[in-house]
């Protein structure tokens, strides 16, 4: 087991290292530089480049960057002059993770409920309603959903604040907008899975044993049907947490998504790298945990790795 974990950790570190190297190279290959478009004299430009070490050979810059990174130092942003990338992440990530967790909690729990109800009442009105919700959720892009929610619940009916993120009532619309797609997906997956399980022999056996309907649904159907949903949770968490940009923009939430997009547009080298390494590291860590858990749960995976 120890060897298995060690191996997974080694692979993760290697992945992160490759990620850093590739992004470092790619961002430098993009046309332009962080100072493009600013009106300045060539001397000032040279001084700025010297300040950020951009005048040194690329390999030396890379080595310096990795060295600093090992000390946890992402360096100064080139667009936001008084801030380090560490500062920017520390101030914006809490908003993104908060929004992401709310959206996930909402979408997974509601998605499961809808899926189960719609399977239980297959062909009935409730099923129909759930299917409509699921179709809407998968077909309406989140920026439209966000704008619609904002227009009706915020402007027309005044039930929730239009934008910003300063208390529980502010979090509801963005969480729904962000989680709606996942909700729809989870409910469809759960419904299909439930309907498949229902035809299994062990359900028939349970029924013939005279076990109560409620108990069959809870103990046998749901618990078996939930497996496929659990397997997609990894990627779902990833897309939700990285996909907050549009929602953050519509609802004026000071999260990380904006920096992620803007840093690339503005070619803020240190911020692009910082964001990528942070997000990448976050996802790699999540995958590592899942991998290790799989190993703990299922000895076959652990053994196959040998």
């Amino acid at each position: 087991m120890g060897k298995y974990i060690l191996k997974r950790v080694a692979v993760s570190v290697l992945t992160l290292f490759v990620l850093i190297t590739v992004v470092f190279a790619l961002v430098r290959l993009m046309p332009g530089d962080p100072f493009s478009g600013e009106k300045m004299t060539p001397e000032i430009r040279a001084n700025l480049e010297a300040y950020y070490g951009l005048d040194k050979p690329l390999l030396e810059q890379y080595i310096t960057y990795v060295k600093n990174l090992l000390r946890g130092d992402f360096g100064y942003s080139m667009k936001y002059l008084n801030r380090t990338v560490n500062d920017i992440i520390a101030s914006s990530f809490p908003y993104s993770i908060d929004l992401g967790m709310r959206a996930l909690a909402l979408s997974i729990s509601m998605g499961l409920v809808f899926g189960i109800l719609s399977a239980r009442y297959r062909g009935k009105k409730l099923d129909f309603i759930c299917i409509v919700i699921a179709i809407l959720g998968t077909s309406i892009p989140d920026f439209i959903m966000g704008a619609l929610l904002q227009y009706f619940f915020g402007i027309q009916w005044g039930l929730f604040p239009v934008a910003q993120y300063q208390g529980i009532q502010y979090t509801i619309l963005p969480s729904i907008a962000l989680g709606f797609y996942t909700l729809a997906m989870v409910s469809r997956l759960m419904r299909a899975s439930m309907l498949e399980v229902v035809t299994q022999d062990y359900i028939k056996t349970a029924k013939s044993d005279g076990i109560s309907n409620v108990r069959i649904v809870w103990k046998h159907q749901i618990r078996n049907a939930i497996m496929p949903v659990v397997t997609v949770l990894g990627p779902v968490v990833a897309t939700t947490l990285t996909g907050t940009f549009v929602i953050e923009s519509i609802f004026a939430i000071p999260g990380m998504g904006k920096f992620y997009v803007e840093s690339v547009q503005k070619l803020d080298y240190s911020l692009v790298l910082g964001m990528t390494v942070f997000y990448g590291g976050f996802l790699i860590l999540a995958n590592l945990i899942v991998d290790i858990l799989y190993g703990v749960i299922d000895p076959r995976i652990r053994l196959a790795g040998k």
């Binding site: 300045m40 000032i44 520390a90 914006s92 809490p94 402007i155 004026a252 547009q265």
Partner: protein, 563 residues
């Protein structure tokens, strides 16, 4: 397998608990905000609360709330380089002068004397204080001016110091920073020596780049100077209480401001809202007092006050090679374009068609430049007969038989608005002249990078004046200007600008500048397109709020709010 399922279920349950824990904590985001405030965590927690109710329920506090589309790059006065920062700086700092709507008023300097040749300015400072009670001195101005042009500061706005003697040489690293044309006579008297009589010098002194700076704060905070409210001090009408990154700026009335009795607001809250539609919705919900209406929604807001944003768009032509090196061809483009049609199709006519390069509302001798020097370089509706004339002449000179043999690439930024704009231009020019234009959409940075390296034929570009004087527009086309990216060179033009720089007489100077503008237009050096307009909505409870296109966008120094 059963164990696996149990664990999975447990995991899922765990996830839900985490999620629900988040749901059931109303103060969650306030805590987050407080945590990000670092050392000042407690204060930011408080302000988060007051922010929610600002101007509504907090006991009649007069807070002016508006939004900006992006966080500012820096609030370090000498390094400020964006419009939003400029507006904040205008309210947080005060220079020797204060320019209000293009009119120069005394600022920290109560009065000033100018030498006959217009080269030496002596400023007499009033008794003013910083927000921490320290006196504002001439030395702090001299320090700030030196800091601005010092290459070690590497301020992207160092160029604005150009009128000061030796400034350019210092920035280029040729002369020591002590040689700058600024001298402290005594604690309240400052003498500035200029490199050339720049009548706009009093205008630029109003900008934050020329605000005084406190060496003690600059040294203490280093790279983080001005990075948050307590990391700088303020000598303007408002002081920065808090800068919540990417979220909001909280300004508070500065009780130590010399004219504090004429400041009626208790503060201001500037919220970062990237989406302009969201900002409009917030305004309609009464969460903002002032908003700029997105251009495509202007038809819905007939009572929005429209005023120029200062931005001027034009097509930059690479005059170095190809058909665009031909003056007749450039003039054919200029006469062929129906500018009225262009603005009608691209912005429903909300932006103003431009047929000259210099924004007419910049300052002139005594009124505006446009009023004093009216000019129609090209008819707004175009002149197809003339366009054909120039086109035929150009084809002959280029040795081509038909206009369709000319294919131009036009670069523009990859956004919905600029794409539409380019498509309209493409259609109008192709139809008028029979040439072919291919549009290439590029990310902003790449467009600009290609523009700066001269790697283009035509590019839809724009300019925002740094100070309200024609020279802020015209300097870009001097042969050796670092901002001349189209290899444009005209000896006559260069000579006229040199003459204007050296001219201390306002009347002859402006006449020379106008001559230069005419040379530029008659050469067809660029294709002027439009002056952008912002439609603005203001809460009727607000009074004495004004707008300007240069240095600041909105002025609320003497504003009041009935609550």
């Amino acid at each position: 397998m059963k164990r696996a399922r149990k664990l999975m279920a447990l995991l899922l349950a765990g996830l839900m608990v985490v999620g629900c824990a988040a749901c059931s904590t109303p103060g969650q985001s306030e805590t987050t905000a407080a945590a990000t405030g670092g050392a000042s965590g407690e204060t930011s927690g408080e302000t988060a609360g007051s922010g929610e109710t600002a101007g509504e329920e907090s006991g009649g506090e007069k807070i002016f709330r508006y939004s900006v589309t992006a966080d500012v790059s820096t609030l370090d006065p000498q390094k400020m380089n964006d419009t939003n920062g400029g507006t904040l700086g205008y309210h947080m700092f005060e220079g020797l002068t204060r320019s209000i709507g293009g009119e120069v008023h005394p600022g920290i300097a109560e009065s000033w004397d100018v030498s006959d040749d217009g080269l030496v300015y002596t400023f007499h400072l009033r008794d003013a204080k910083w927000s921490d009670g320290e006196p504002v001195t001439a030395e702090q101005f001299a320090y700030a001016f030196r800091r601005l042009v010092d290459p070690a500061t590497a301020s992207t706005f160092a160029f604005i110091g150009k009128p000061l003697k030796n400034a350019e040489e210092i920035t280029a690293g040729e002369v020591a920073v002590e040689e700058l044309g600024v001298k402290v006579i005594d604690e309240k008297t400052l003498e500035c020596t200029l490199a050339f009589p720049a009548p706009y010098f009093l205008q630029v002194l109003s900008m934050s780049q020329f605000a005084p700076a406190r060496e003690d704060y600059v040294t203490q905070y280093g790279a983080e100077f001005a990075g948050d409210g307590e990391k700088n001090v303020y000598n303007g009408p408002f002081m920065l209480k808090e800068w919540r990154q990417n979220d909001r700026f909280i300004l508070e009335k500065n009780p130590n401001y010399w004219d504090a009795e004429n400041v009626h607001l208790d503060g201001a809250e500037v919220i970062v809202v990237a989406d302009t539609n969201t900002a409009l919705a917030m305004y309609e919900q009464g969460e903002l007092d002032y908003v700029v209406v997105p251009t495509d929604l202007m038809p819905n807001y007939p009572d929005a006050v429209a005023s120029p944003s200062g931005a001027c768009d034009f097509i930059r032509l690479n005059t170095g090679s190809g058909p665009l090196a031909n003056q007749n061809f450039r003039l054919a483009l200029n006469y062929g374009l129906n500018r009225n049609e262009f603005v009608l199709l691209s912005t429903n006519g909300y932006w103003e068609a431009a047929n000259r390069f210099v924004l007419p509302i910049v300052g002139g001798v005594s009124s505006t430049y446009g009023e004093e020097f009216p000019y129609t370089a090209f008819p707004m509706d175009g002149d197809q007969a003339k366009a054909q004339e120039y086109l035929q002449a150009a084809l002959q000179e280029l040795g081509l038989s038909d206009a369709s043999e000319i294919t131009m690439e036009m670069l523009t930024t990859d956004s919905e608005r600029t794409k539409k704009e380019a498509e309209v231009l493409q259609a109008l020019l192709q139809e008028a002249l029979g040439i072919n234009i291919n549009i290439t959409l590029l990310p902003f940075t790449e467009r600009v990078a290609r523009e700066e390296t001269g790697d283009f034929e035509m590019v839809v570009s724009g300019i925002l004046p740094d100070y309200p004087d024609p020279i802020s527009f015209l300097e870009s086309w001097e042969t050796d200007s670092p901002y001349n990216h189209m290899s444009y060179s005209n000896a006559e033009y260069d000579a006229l600008l040199e003459k204007a720089y050296a001219d201390g007489n306002a009347e002859t100077r402006f006449a020379t500048l106008f001559e230069a503008e005419q040379v530029l237009m008659e050469d067809g050096a660029i294709v002027p397109l439009q002056y952008r307009t912002d439609g603005r909505l203001l809460n009727p409870a607000m009074t004495d709020v004004s707008y300007y296109f240069c240095g600041y966008t909105v002025n609320f120094i003497h504003a009041d709010k009935s609550v």
